[in-house]
Symmetry: C2
Subunit: 432 residues, 2 copies
């Protein structure tokens, strides 16, 4: 059985090839209750309908659990654990394979095809997981250095803890939204003149609105409160990945962030892509990350050398005037810490991770400015304008700007493992 | 109708007088499904049973909503909004009043009394709310100053933003536990010698385990994403208060907290008291907080001058050897910012607060060392031992130490509005 060819039409270049099978939550105009689906080519396969019509007839392991596909989030499916995710994904691949051993399930069942295979253009995608807690890490070392230079100068750019600890902070789970949700420019306190002797803040709409290109990871298997996840078991808690845009208000951040870290600068919205690419689907694209030249403590030492992913990430902007430009291209491997390392560190105190928790990688920036994953870095803190097509330029985001992050793995156009898009458009601030 | 005298025996000095009526979630050995109750004297009134037996016969407004009392959290009840909380509390007060207008409901109904009035000693209390997000503020100005002195020296103790912003950070919702839950000493990275030229962290059980005496506030009414809560409407989102112990690993915190704030130092556990004292019950104890000598921005200006609460807070320690000592006594009014100000600031960017979200006040410390709400402050960062009874002393917490926080409002022993206890005992660290 080949998993690269399907009887079903999957356009060349689709992020959702047979090699992928990402999971999401959908609804449609005629069936508005959110439920679980997988994306395949230009279509979503509605797994609630598929299950109800004996789609899983040949997979007995999932049968007692089929109610998970009728949920409004992937949490119940995720909680079944990676071995179950694996058999479900493999089974769906086999159902779509050209030489499927189960032709009666879907290939020869045009009624079910018509019911359960929905064109993506007719589908509304929802936040895929109910997120209990969201933690944003800072594992993009070049970003940490670039941002540190701008906030504190090059000599203190990387803090002494940086290579010992996957530095992170608790983010705001309630403001995570799915791709396509508009982002309203936040109001807040900023310092117009940070060098003035007396710091008097001004209340204003954010003037330095930015993006952060990140990967997000969802937790499937919880750990008990008080019991850390051992580093070499943490992969069992990794459900899958999404693209993540950690919208950031740089001027609000600069004024508020001492001594307890960013707060309002980040809590107005974080956008993730709609389809969770399972950890299994990403396994072939594992690669080495940034080498850590510092000896790390044993609880962070992974057996596996290839602990991050070779994902071609890209940030595009479309302005109100209609000009589209690519802002950054960077590979997902530019991380000093892996998600299992982040989970091992997060839980070393006994902190409980729960099914549905979201971890952000931190902004991913490569070595050259064309690879920098934020406007803060691209514009050197607002000193240099970034040139866009049509003669436009940007230091930070303007109202009406639409940011699209994409990410894709693999070199074979008929077997890509991609994330689709992570899109957000900036709406004007409220007049308060 | 008098609300200070009841036909039911409420011991003098009880925190749960007729003037209080706090809400919580309980189960019992014979009925293990968690459900909603109120505390009254030494008893809990099981509201699920009370409702099922026509206890709310004379309160038509609640009748369509009685399912909220069968929930395993107060969220559904909280979401009904403050006007409903008010009528339910007032009704329960009237049912218990000596001259109740509804004697048949409970006073003359000994069958229902036996079923629904459960001795607190036979009741298990659960986390009262399902907490989506937890934010810890830093509004105890004396604590902020004390801690700032220890971490950065007196000249930089209060950051320039402190009097302009209710500084806060996102905490870890999944590790909030109810009073009585043991707290395991966390392991983590610390710097044994912070002044060494090269910073090499050591992996160890926390050696500077501390408490933070705080008040917690629960959110009832959500705001829509993108729409701030106006300062003078924020009280409508204040469900009620609990005591909160923000356990803190000071040595882990000192090494990890730059530049993104405390993370593992706080995420191993936060304990709250079991009974939520409704905002209405606290209304008579409103008082002025610390005067802010700085002009604040309009979005933080409250009409009401009395915006914090006159609560007598106390921290006690009981050691493994059995010695009990009072560590601190401080009034809850020692806050620079009120909960409505925190909510207005939290949402000014459009960040959505949701029903069940928890806000911590920040550590409450008064002007003298006997009023300091943490061992960090009491021991001057570990320089001076705090004397306990029985000749014991502490700089930070030892294994087996049990910390009890109490809080109570009012001067009349028969009409106290108290929080009960917020208790946690330290278990030894895991050997890793
Ligand atoms: Ca980030
Ligand atoms: Ca605190
Ligand atoms: Mg972030
Ligand atoms: Mg805290
Ligand atoms: Ni109603």
């Amino acid at each position: 059985m080949s998993t690269s060819r399907s009887w079903f039409c999957i356009p060349r270049g689709s992020h959702f090839s047979l090699a992928n099978i990402p999971f999401g939550v959908i609804s449609t105009a005629t069936s508005q209750t959110p439920r679980v689906a997988v994306a395949i080519g230009d279509h979503a396969l509605d797994l609630e309908l598929f299950a109800a019509n004996n789609g899983f007839a040949a997979l007995s392991t999932i049968q007692p659990h089929q109610a998970v596909f009728s949920q409004p989030s992937l949490n119940a499916f995720a909680a079944l654990g990676r071995p179950i995710h694996s058999v479900v994904r493999t089974y769906i691949q086999s159902v779509f394979a050209e030489d499927t051993p189960y032709p009666d399930v879907l290939k020869n069942n045009s009624t079910l095809q018509k019911q359960a295979l929905l064109p993506l253009k007719d589908v509304t995608t929802h936040l895929p997981m109910k997120i209990g807690d969201y933690t944003d890490f800072f594992a993009g070392m070049r970003h940490a250095f670039n941002a540190g230079c701008l906030f504190r100068g090059p000599e203190n750019a990387l803090q002494p803890n940086y290579k010992h600890i996957p530095v992170g902070y608790h983010g705001r789970a309630s403001s995570v939204v799915v791709s396509g949700t508009p982002i309203r420019r936040p109001n807040g306190q900023i310092l117009l003149d940070p060098k003035a002797e007396k710091n008097i803040p001004t209340f204003t709409a954010c003037r330095k609105l930015d993006i952060e290109l990140e990967l997000g990871a969802f937790v499937c298997k919880a750990n008990k409160h008080g019991e850390p996840l051992p580093i070499n078991e943490a992969h069992n808690s990794l459900f899958g990945l999404v693209l993540l845009n950690d919208w950031s208000a740089r001027d609000i951040q600069a004024w508020e962030y001492v001594p307890l870290g960013p707060f309002n600068a980040k809590n107005f919205g974080t956008t993730i892509s709609a389809w969770v690419v399972l950890a299994d689907a990403l396994e072939p694209f594992k690669t080495k990350g940034i080498e850590n030249d510092t000896e790390i403590l044993p609880y962070l030492r992974e057996k596996e050398e290839k602990n991050v992913y070779d994902i071609r990430l890209q940030v595009d902007i479309k302005t109100n005037a209609g000009n589209s430009s690519t802002v950054a291209k960077v590979n997902g491997r530019h991380l000093l810490w892996s998600f299992p390392q982040m989970m091992a560190h997060h839980t070393i105190t006994g902190c409980p991770l729960q099914t549905g928790d979201l971890l952000g990688s931190g902004t991913i920036s490569g070595d050259t400015s064309a690879e920098f994953g934020s406007f803060l870095e691209q514009s050197e803190g607002g000193k240099t304008a970034v040139k866009l097509s049509g003669g436009e330029e940007r230091k930070f985001l303007e109202d009406g700007d639409e940011i699209t992050i994409t990410g894709v793995c693999g070199g074979d156009d008929s077997a890509l493992v991609g994330f689709g898009e992570c899109v957000g458009r900036i709406e004007p601030a409220l007049q308060l």
